[in-house]
């Protein structure tokens, strides 16, 4: 999958997160979490896994997390990536 436009998904409600995605020449991840610093690392590795699965090598992902569960994070990320991909739907 190739990310070629800016996109976003999610909300800033409690237990949700905002995912911002934009094209980039390498993988860059930025995570802000209201929950904890340990949790930030967990989110980062979760994102890396998802990107690897989709064979994405260039993207800038920015997360603003308000304590979302992992499944929410995955779902929001997937939506943002699909929206940012060329043939995404």
């Amino acid at each position: 999958m190739e990310i070629n436009k800016k996109s976003q998904a999610g909300s800033l409600e409690s237990s949700d997160l905002m995912v911002y995605v934009e094209p980039f020449n390498e993988i860059k991840i930025e995570v802000e979490s209201s929950v904890s610093s340990q949790h930030t690392e967990e989110i980062r590795s979760l994102i890396l896994n998802e990107l690897e699965m989709r064979k994405i090598n260039g993207v800038y992902v920015k997360i603003q997390d308000n304590g979302a569960m992992n499944l929410t994070i995955k779902a929001r990320l997937k939506t943002a990536l699909l929206r940012g991909a060329k043939n995404g739907n």
Binding site: S34, V35, G67
Partner: protein, 519 residues
């Protein structure tokens, strides 16, 4: 020495005195006659009839009050997040050069968070309150106070005033409406806040009372919540507060689906508990799930044609609406939560303003909450012994308030805690709460969206609620379930330093606020 919950409490603390460890919710009350307590002596002030109470500025009123360094000054939080007076008084005292004062407020809101600057300057030495918020709460939890704060419940504060454990040298009263002699009420004027229930106790037992108003009206001002014979000086200032932050126009009901599920469960618990009956009395907070419980309960009451005797507490306009539907006969109001309540106090004879002593003091001949059937309360955390924390947040900071939580939990026949099982990956149901405000022996049922847990002490409730289609679970099972879902590492640790004491309503120490290690 250890208290009944196994928490270490020092016997003596410099500048606070001797501490009594908590021994059980009604232990001290049962044996109180042996202590032979007396009402606090209060200075009698007399003035000649022709004397003018109006003073042109706060400075002059403070000068005349005879306030000294190290004295105790009191405030009340009916103007909530919109209050200007407390900070204005403290700024004035700083300019006048006062030091080492004790701030004794019924609670502290975000409007007072900069109070920590005056602690750093030495103007304020001690803080006694029900709640802490914003930067002030962080300041306390970081261990920056030389003397630990003391957190009291609303009933406990009234107790401490009457026994003289805390003697108020000067009470500052935010008066939304006053005449030149100091007849005060909270129901009229640009800063109208409704009930003055907490301030009424201060006015009665302080050695000096300064009423501050932004709405000076013709004599005599009625209704009279605080009478002129308790007021020494009246000061007119431009603005007492920000009306938008004193209270919203009305309390809106939550549309959060999790809260609504909890509320519906809680209403069904009440209906099946054995306490749902003609003449039942009821209290609930203004929080999402608590207030929504009132909605579902009211619908059941209407359907079953059951009419309650009274609703009490902080009154919100949603409770007023339920009263108007004819479902409760009276409302007792120690603190009004929104502007809709203010007009109801003026219009409805059955809406009665009461003081904090009448409301919840355990050391009198009978607070009205002693007759309370059902109370619905919130929680930051609840543990498997049903102890509840409503003060220390998920970051380890004091960011909440004791309020009437422990008072009503102790006296109500049925105490229900409503809370989501976790919030933002942080479990609500835990092994051990950070800080106990309300002891588990006074809590009967926890209602979450993931199940209902009954305190094993209440075999009768287990019996009544069995086979009613309610998702009843053991609290340990509930905790484990939540732990698996959230899978969240603890994000902070505490040191052994004591930053505050949680005083139970009877004056014993139930827990401490510990210093948080920030990561």
């Amino acid at each position: 020495m250890k208290n009944q919950l196994g928490i270490d409490i020092p016997e003596y603390v410099e500048n606070l005195g001797k501490l009594i460890p908590y021994k059980g919710a009604f232990k001290r009350i049962k044996n109180l006659q042996k202590e032979d307590l007396r009402l606090t002596p209060t200075k009698i002030r007399t003035y000649l009839p022709e004397r003018n109470k109006l003073v042109s500025s706060l400075e002059k009123a403070i000068e005349r009050s005879g306030l000294k360094n190290g004295d105790t000054i009191s405030f009340h939080h009916h103007l909530r997040g919109g209050d200007f007076l407390l900070m204005k008084v403290v700024e004035t005292l700083d300019k006048m050069g006062f030091k080492d004062l004790t701030i004794f407020s019924s609670s502290l809101t975000r409007a007072h968070q900069n109070l920590y600057e005056y602690v750093e300057k030495g103007v304020v030495k001690k803080i006694f309150t029900s709640g802490l918020r914003g930067e002030l709460g962080k300041f306390v939890s970081r261990g920056k106070m030389d003397i630990p704060v003391v957190i009291r419940s609303h009933g406990g504060r009234a107790r401490a005033i009457k026994t003289g454990e805390v003697k108020i040298d000067v009470a500052f009263i935010s008066a939304p409406s006053s005449d030149k002699e100091g007849n005060l009420n909270g129901v009229r004027g640009p800063s109208a806040c409704g009930s003055l229930g907490y301030a009424m106790v201060d006015a009665q037992y302080a050695n000096c009372v300064i009423a501050v108003t932004d709405n000076l009206v013709d004599y005599p001002n009625t209704p009279i919540s605080i009478p002129q014979y308790q007021v020494d000086y009246v000061v007119k200032i431009d603005r007492l507060g920000d009306p938008d932050k004193i209270g919203s126009d009305s309390t809106r009901l939550t549309n959060n689906p999790v809260d609504l599920v909890i509320a519906e469960n809680a209403a069904n618990v009440i209906y099946n508990s054995g306490y749902f009956r003609e003449g039942m009395s009821f209290q609930t907070g203004a929080g999402g799930a608590s207030l929504a419980t009132a909605k579902y309960l009211a619908d059941i009451m209407e359907e079953k044609k059951v009419i309650g005797s009274y609703a009490i507490g902080g009154i919100s306009s949603y409770i007023v609406d339920i009263y108007k539907r004819g479902l409760f006969k009276k409302m007792f109001d120690v603190q009004s939560f929104d502007k809709g309540v203010v007009s109801s106090l003026l219009e409805n004879d059955d809406h009665i303003e009461i003081n904090a002593d009448f409301y919840a003091n355990p050391f009198n001949s009978g607070a009205i909450i002693n007759n309370l059937d059902v109370v619905v309360l919130a929680a930051y955390e609840i543990d498997t012994d049903f102890n509840v924390n409503v003060l220390v947040d998920s970051h380890g900071y004091a960011q909440g308030a004791s309020g009437g939580h422990s008072d009503t939990a102790a006296t109500a026949k049925l105490t229900i805690i409503v809370a989501p099982s976790f919030r933002s990956r942080i479990p609500t149901v835990v092994n051990k709460v950070n800080t106990v405000i309300t002891p588990g022996e006074t809590v009967d049922i926890l209602v979450t969206e993931r199940g209902i847990a009954i305190n094993p002490r209440r075999k009768d409730l287990m019996e009544n609620l069995k086979g009613k289609g309610l998702p009843i679970k053991d609290i340990h099972q509930l905790r484990e379930k939540v732990e698996i879902i959230t899978n969240n590492p603890k994000m902070f640790e505490f040191t052994d330093k004591i930053c505050g004491f949680i005083e139970y309503r009877d004056g014993t120490i139930i827990d401490t606020i510990k210093q948080v290690v920030e990561k």
